[in-house]
Every structure is written in structure tokens, then in C-alpha cells.
Subunit: 146 residues, 3 copies
Amino acid sequence: MEEAVVGLGAVTVLGVLEQVYFSLQVIYARRKYSVSPPSTNGPPEFERIFRAQVNCSEYFPIFIIVLWTAGVFFSQAVSSCCGLLYLYGRLCYFRGYSESAHGRLVPLYFSAKVLWVLIGFSSVGVLLTFCRVYLNLDLLQELGFF
Amino acid sequence: MEEAVVGLGAVTVLGVLEQVYFSLQVIYARRKYSVSPPSTNGPPEFERIFRAQVNCSEYFPIFIIVLWTAGVFFSQAVSSCCGLLYLYGRLCYFRGYSESAHGRLVPLYFSAKVLWVLIGFSSVGVLLTFCRVYLNLDLLQELGFF
Amino acid sequence: MEEAVVGLGAVTVLGVLEQVYFSLQVIYARRKYSVSPPSTNGPPEFERIFRAQVNCSEYFPIFIIVLWTAGVFFSQAVSSCCGLLYLYGRLCYFRGYSESAHGRLVPLYFSAKVLWVLIGFSSVGVLLTFCRVYLNLDLLQELGFF
């Protein structure tokens, strides 16, 4: 069974390492700009890094959830590739946002698009499996794909 | 194996779409009330929408985790139904909180109750499986349920 | 199949209950220090409890993800034990942070170390499975472990 998910596992581990990297950047920024916890207000440079990490953290569980849903119900290979693209987009987003509020936009839109693609594959995969299991209907065959 | 989890997958995809909807509402509210990132302070109308989305995001991973734990170790059908109720409760919560701080309370208590039910089913399911696997003991049979 | 993951399921349920406990503490602190939602600013005592809960919530999905990745691809027993240590560390962190900003440091470093160990096991597990599945190579055997 593990061979059906090991690609998803690899992307997951990479994603976790990226999140750890973002968290470490916030810790460094706290030291650099002298913002001690629990405060989260400081100079714009600090607030941008802090918000970038918070935003990535907020989306990370959703990313992992659709990565696995798309991977299990649709295709592991397609889902893993999209996952790598998403993680690359998030790295660009974090670096762009650290430099300027405007710099976050292009990679944010890119990673949002990749997330939409993964959500699309998840939905299609779950729908196809649903029809196959509960309606005994192979939608792809019915629609003439095979 | 997929037939044992496709219902959970369907609820998961619905939940992800709901989270995306909440995130889009925050983006619209940022434009409407002219609150540019990284600031998260603004008029009460904006802060309520922002806090509603943050609160839903905070609970979303826990919801998905107990949905799947209850679904895998207890019952897919029961868990999926509870999942749909939770997502409906969260939608009412988001709409209520957008209108007034008081409007969030009733649906918040409702979705908290559904979450407790899912946590209960997860605990029971894990306990029963634990006894069956490690103690070779069928608790339900021992207690005279069957 | 459930016997291969029931230990992970048990640690997961315990972790969810711990997160619920932290959330309840924030609700009690809101009442005690009269900080009504959506505000998250208040006396330092409240802000410390609030930040402690936010920090635990932020790390919780990552913890669950590496717990399961390490458990599925490396070893359920090792991963479950690390999971219990992590949850204990987080409890100490929450209590320490509630008392003083300094009190959070020792348990924070402890739980961070446990998380690193879990990330290490996840990485090793995924790498070994990857080599076995795609390269038909048993790395442990090649390196002379067995």
C-alpha cells in the first residue's frame, strides 16, 4: 500500500521542512527587530515576515489535505507534481512578502492557482470514486473517455 | 479500500471549499474596508469577518483529524453525517459573526457540540480497536451489545 | 490494516483533547480578564495564554502530519512514543507560558526537539520506502544494517 502514497509522503516531508524554515525566519526576525513574544506588532519589516508565516501556516493544512485527497482519489503522480509547484510558489511568496507587501502578489496568485488545481483534482477524484462505489457507474467510461 | 473512505473524502473536499469561501470573504472585506495587509486592525465589521475566518481556520485541521479518526476507527457513515452538520454550523457561524459578535454564539455552540460528538466517536473507535488488536478483546461483545 | 495505525490514532485523539483544553483556557481567560472577541489585545496575562494557544494550534497540524508520516513510513511504536513526549512537552509549554514569557522556553525547546526527531524519522522512512519502491533498493541492507 505504501507505494501508492510514498510520493505524497515525500512532498509532505518537504512541505513540513519548508514550514519549519518559515518559523525559524520569524524567530530570527523577532531577534533582529527586537520584538519579544507575546507581542506581534513591530516595524513593517517584522510584520510582513510574521504575516507571511501566518498566511503560509493557515494554508498548509488545507494544502496537505487536498494533496492527499487528490493523490488518493485521483492520481499520486499528478498530485505530487502539483505539490512541488505549490511549495516552490510558497517559497517565492515568503521571500517576496519579506521584501515588500507588493512582492507577495505574483507568487500568491501562482500558489493559489496550484491549490485550485489540486482542489479540482480532489473533487473529480472523489466524484468518480463515489459514482463507482455507490452507483456502480464508471463516469469516465460513460462520458466516452475510454 | 477507497470505498471505506470516499464519504470522508467528499466531506473533506466540501470543507476545503468552505474554507476557501471564508478566505475570499476576508479578501473582499479587506478591499471594502480598505485594510491593506499586513495590518489586521480595522473597523469592527472587518475585524469580525477576519476573526471568524481565523477561528474557522484554527478549528479546521482538528475537524478534519477527528472526521477521519472517527470515520476510520468508528463508522464512515456516522462520521460523514456529523461532518456535514459541522460544516453547516460553521457556515451559520461565519454569517452570524459577520453581522454581530453576538450572532456567532448559537452556531458556535452547535458546531462545538458536533465536534465533541466526533471526538467522542474517535475516542470510542480507537479504544475498541486498541482492545481488539492488543488485548484480543471485543469490548462491545464483552459489554453485551451483541 | 487498522492495527498498523491504532497507536497513531490514540495519540491523535489525545492531541485533539489537549488542543480542546487549550482553547477552553483561552475562553476562561477572556472572561477573567474581560477581553471580548474579536479583540485579542489585553493584559499581558491574557496575551500570554492567547499566544500560547495560537502557537500550539499553529504547530498542531504539523505535529499530526509528521506523527502519521513517521508512523506509516518508519515505525508506529517509535512514532507514537515521540508523539506522547511531544504532547507532554506542549502541556508544560502552555502552563509555563501562562505564568511568564520566560517559562515557555525550556518546554518549547523540548517539544521542538521531539518534533525534529519525528521529522527525521519521517524523512528516513519516506527515503527508505522511496528507494525500495522506485529503485528496488533496500538501503538498510545496502548500508549493512541487516
